[in-house]
């Protein structure tokens, strides 16, 4: 077991969310043909690191990239005589996820010991939950295609992470900084029917844990790790095929590829008349294939039993109440609401809920607008101008100099005809750069649009009176091209500030056709 290659520096969570992989194209094509006959059945087990400050059963701090074995204490080292004490902060975070996935929450759950020998498991057992987990029978609504697909969750349980072993030549190095970091393990029902759905489930879960602020969910840092149970069966068959467990899917880039390649491998074996071996396979992202790690015969008997050092984990009404109160509106709910309330497309809604800060920005901007109809236009501005400006300047939404109310104000100026859309973009750029309110920028520049009918009528009267030949040629002579001449004169007179729609309307009236 060699630790997978370290990711290259600079790959943030946003990058790792990028979908598709050029090298996956041929695999996808092969699978597409196979899948007309075969049906894949996928179950995912996702480990999510909870963002507590200290470890789940001891006071050691948690920090990524600290010097090896600097974040330890007697308990983390598994010294004789040490005892675990549960960090209640981890409970609150796990409960948020449990409630957000509509899981049944056990009032009294239990920690159990899971035994196996490995140098990065100091006690010889991992403290986990077994037959009495914290959460059961929940679901996650996954945004897929233009809608939501409900994926059932069997359970969500709390456990401690193990340390990390790296093999260098003949020697092995153990780093226990990660040992005792709190995790939740999210286990789906084996009901995911496509590679795409599996990938979208993982992305939806990633978005949700960040949304709830229970984890940074950074896969490159191992804060979100995915194992997949994969089997295939002939379409129409009821019985499940023999499954394999695919481990080490440690990047969003490889989720689809890893599972697709395993599905293809199984189908090829079955089509050649072979049988699938129940085994655990390790995904090698570098080589784009998996290899057998251990078969069922070699599988560990974990000898689970309730940890006698820890009393039952009690969830009382007080903690449930405080979490229910603080739970934000979920991304899947907003995805629906945005489409219904503002008439925006699923793709647009999906982008708006890709990040909580972005959705919150949008909601705040809409809230600052006097009527709901502003939503559609605000969405357009957020999705095009704001996201573009954020991306170009490398600014996270949370640090956008332009505040939601400012965007709302800008949209109002355009809707009221005070400024043109073109001017709006200029003002947006300045506002985004300086954080100054659009109205103030406009005021300073004196460039607001003239939409006042009386003012424009007076200007038009003057221009028509000064150009009697052209007026006659247009009105009587039928020279349509001269209409543009008059518009140009009005714009010249107003330095481009005349509202073009009203100007055109008044000119028609004044010229008689």
């Amino acid at each position: 077991m060699t630790e997978g290659k370290r990711p290259s520096a600079g790959e943030g969570p946003r990058d790792s969310l990028a979908r598709g992989n050029p090298s996956g194209v041929s695999v996808s094509r092969e699978i597409a043909a196979m899948l007309e006959v075969w049906e894949p059945v996928i179950g995912l087990e996702v480990h999510v690191q909870l963002a507590t400050r200290s470890k789940i059963f001891s006071p050691s701090a948690i920090e990524f990239g600290a010097p090896p074995n600097s974040l330890t204490d007697p308990l983390v080292l598994g010294l004789p005589g040490t005892l675990p004490v549960f960090n209640q902060a981890a409970l609150a975070l796990a409960l948020k996820l449990g409630i957000a996935t509509s899981s049944q929450i056990r009032a009294k759950s239990r920690f159990a010991r899971k035994h196996y020998f490995y140098p990065d498991l100091p006690k010889g057992y991992q403290i986990s939950q077994f037959d009495e987990p914290l959460c059961e029978n929940g679901h996650l609504d996954v945004i897929i295609g233009g809608g939501l697909k409900r994926v059932k969750l069997q359970r969500i349980h709390l456990e401690e992470d193990a340390g990390k072993t790296t093999h260098v030549g003949v020697s092995s190095h153990v780093d226990l900084n990660r040992a005792g970091v709190p995790l939740v393990e999210v286990v789906t029902a084996p009901e995911i029917g496509s590679v795409e759905e599996a990938g979208e489930f993982l992305r939806s879960l990633h978005r949700l844990v960040r949304w709830l602020e229970i984890s940074e969910g950074d896969m490159e840092k191992g804060q979100l790790r995915c194992d997949a149970n994969v089997s295939v069966r002939l379409r129409g068959e009821d019985r499940l095929g023999t499954r394999t467990e695919l481990k080490n899917i440690n990047s969003f880039r490889f989720v689809e590829n890893a599972i697709a390649s395993e599905i293809a491998r199984q189908i090829r074996i079955l089509e050649a008349g072979g049988r699938i071996t129940r085994e655990t396979r390790l995904w090698d992202a570098e080589r784009g294939q998996s290899q057998s790690m251990r078969s069922k015969e070699e599988a560990n008997d974990y000898r689970y039993f309730p940890d006698p050092d820890l009393p039952p984990l009690v969830v009382d009404g007080a903690i449930m109440g405080s979490i229910l109160q603080s739970l934000p509106e979920l991304p899947s709910v907003r995805f629906d609401r945005y489409q219904r309330a503002f008439g925006i497309s699923p793709t647009e809604a999906r982008t708006l809920v890709s990040e909580r800060a972005l959705a919150d920005f949008f909601d705040a901007a809409v809230a600052a607008h006097p009527n709901e109809t502003g939503g559609k236009m605000i969405a357009n501005w957020v999705l095009s101008e704001l996201l573009g400006a954020l991306r170009a300047s490398g600014t996270p939404i949370a640090r956008s100099p332009m505040q939601p109310a400012m965007l709302s104000e800008l949209v109002k100026l355009i809707e009221s005809g005070t400024i043109s859309g073109k001017l709006g973009k200029e003002i947006f750029e300045e506002s985004f750069r300086t954080g100054e309110a659009p109205a103030a920028i406009l005021e300073r520049s004196g460039r607001s649009q003239i939409s006042d009918t009386a003012t424009l009528w007076e200007i038009i009267n003057r221009i028509v009176a000064a150009n009697p030949k052209q007026a006659e040629a247009y009105t009587v002579g039928g020279k349509d091209g001269l209409f543009g001449f008059f518009v140009g004169q009005v714009m010249k007179e107003t330095q481009g500030r005349a509202n073009p729609v009203i100007t055109s309307d008044l000119l028609h009236k004044r010229l008689g056709r």
């Binding site: 007697p74 080292l77 598994g78 010294l79 004789p80 005589g81 040490t82 005892l83 675990p84 004490v85 549960f86 010991r113 035994h115 020998f117 140098p119 100091p122 006690k123 010889g124 057992y125 153990v174 008997d301 974990y302 000898r303 689970y304 039993f305 006698p308 050092d309 820890l310 009393p311």
Partner: protein, 494 residues
């Protein structure tokens, strides 16, 4: 047996030692030097100590003496020499659990009880022998040495806290701490004619106790008097946030419990505890019960029908938990490692060389009991039996305030007498239920056999009711205890 001279400092009580030091009659250094000299003289034959921390003890004594000279206020146990069972973790002082697998391990921290003792001014004089990982009833399972019974060197001191009971009985410390998982404090106390108390589960923190069976283990004192047991328990008891099973209950002043008054106290005699035992032990228990009645207590005959299930339940629960607790001894981070070409081999060889036969037997038993598919039939079933045993006690305590039983069915037995493991397990038949139910228990000497071996009377009480046990125990001690009789079996103890 000749009465001991009261002048010898080594047999002073805990309270006396502390009081005399505080009064300036004697210095802590003098106490420690006398004790070290006595250990030097006797322990070669007795074999109680695995490590004597002479330098450490002298340094603390000197510090205490200079503090006293400067009138710095001192703790209630200032200068009192204490020996610790070697499953209690001591900072900077080797802790082996009497196992080869921990040979050479120097812990970086102190157990909670050790912190408490040090804070009270007690001096850790050394680490004493026990059965390996506290598994056994004779201390014969120590990987290092046998410990002899001070009353008869051909006999065992009991176990697993046999080093503690022998050291206390022989006057090699003022008091000792042991651990009790199925009788490991009370049984050796009975064999060596000292007082041994197992507190309510959760009364004393297990932080820093090398775990044997987590749901049963409890630390307690072995002392030469009930009053000393009260004083030491008062020092080590109390809530500790580092132990999630620690009880957040107020600690009474145990030393104030010894009123000598048992009038109206209802003493239950569970018939299941009087079925099979040596005649001399039965006679001693009858004398004990009569003495209590003479002082105003009432006797209540009781039945606790699930008693016979305690032994099989215990030998599922304790080995199961032990097999898990001992998984950490893998040669990776501390203790002894046997090098091998690959990891699995290293684990196997390290554990094969590091663990003794009884420890291996229990790891095998426990591993078997926890196998997938067997959990319900064994561990879970045993836990259900625990509930039945607890109910027996709950019901009994509706009719009585304490239970009186023999601590052991026989007095101390000769070395090698219990070669069959099951015979050895039966030595704990009267003490196991108390651990399964999480109750407090105490063993108090209640006489000697015709052959001069101590007999222990056991009192079992309601959860957190150590006070009643100490009060009744002190009455037994005064009525039928050993008085000034000291063991004369080793080194001409006088």
């Amino acid at each position: 047996m000749s009465p001991a001279s009261p002048a010898s400092t080594e047999f002073w009580s805990v309270a006396d030692t502390a009081r005399r030091i505080a009064a300036g009659e004697i210095t802590a250094t003098q106490i420690i030097e006398a004790m070290l000299a006595r250990i030097q003289k006797i322990d070669g034959e007795l074999g109680a100590f695995l490590a004597v921390d002479g330098d450490g003890a002298r340094a603390v004594a000197a510090e205490l003496d200079s503090q006293r000279a400067a009138n710095v206020p001192q703790g209630p146990l200032a200068g009192v020499p204490i020996a610790l069972k070697d499953v209690l973790v001591t900072r900077g002082l080797a802790t082996t659990a009497a196992s080869k697998i921990l040979r050479g391990w120097i812990p970086p921290y102190d157990a909670h009880v050790v912190e408490k003792l040090r804070a009270a001014g007690a001096i850790v004089i050394g680490k004493v022998n026990c059965d390996e990982f506290a598994m056994g009833s004779s201390t014969e399972n120590s990987a290092y040495q046998p410990t002899r019974n001070p009353w008869d060197p051909s006999r065992v001191p009991g176990g697993s806290s046999g080093g503690s009971s022998a050291a206390v009985a022989a006057g090699l410390c003022a008091a000792s701490l042991g651990t009790d998982t199925g009788g490991s404090i009370r049984q050796p106390a009975a064999f060596c004619g000292v007082v041994g108390m197992k507190p309510t589960y959760g009364r004393v923190s297990r932080w820093g106790v090398v775990a044997f069976a987590s749901s049963l283990d409890q630390v307690g004192p072995l002392t030469r008097s009930v009053a000393d047991a009260a004083l030491v328990l008062e020092t080590i008891a109390g809530f500790d946030p580092r132990d999630s099973t620690s009880l957040d209950a107020p600690v009474p002043r145990f030393t104030g419990a010894l009123t000598g008054d048992v009038r109206g106290l209802r003493i239950g005699l569970p018939q299941e505890y009087f079925e099979a035992m040596d005649d001399e032990i039965r006679a001693a228990l009858v004398r004990t019960a009569s003495a209590l009645v003479e002082r105003g207590a009432e006797l209540v005959d009781l039945s606790m029908p699930h008693t016979k299930l305690a032994l099989p339940a215990y030998y599922l629960v304790a080995p199961a938990e032990a097999s898990s607790n001992l998984a950490r001894f893998d040669g990776v981070r501390y203790g002894q490692r046997v090098e091998a070409p690959d990891l699995l081999d290293m684990y196997g060889k390290t554990r094969d060389a590091g663990f003794g036969p009884e420890v291996k037997r229990r790891i095998m038993l426990g591993t078997y009991a926890l196998r997938s598919g067997y959990y319900d039939a064994y561990y879970k079933k045993a836990q259900q039996v625990r509930t039945l045993i607890k109910r027996d006690f709950d019901r009994a305590f509706q009719y009585c305030d304490v239970l009186l039983t023999p601590t052991t069915p026989t007095p101390a037995f000769p070395f090698g007498a219990k070669a069959n493991p099951v015979d050895m397990y039966l030595a704990d038949v009267f003490t196991l239920s108390c651990n399964l139910a999480g109750l407090p228990g105490i063993s108090v000497p209640c006489g000697l056999t015709a052959g001069g071996l101590p007999i222990g009377a056991q009192l079992l009480g309601r959860p957190l009711d150590e006070v009643t046990l100490l009060r009744a125990g002190a009455v037994i001690e005064a009525a039928v205890g050993l008085g000034d009789r000291r063991p004369a079996g080793i080194g001409g103890i006088t």
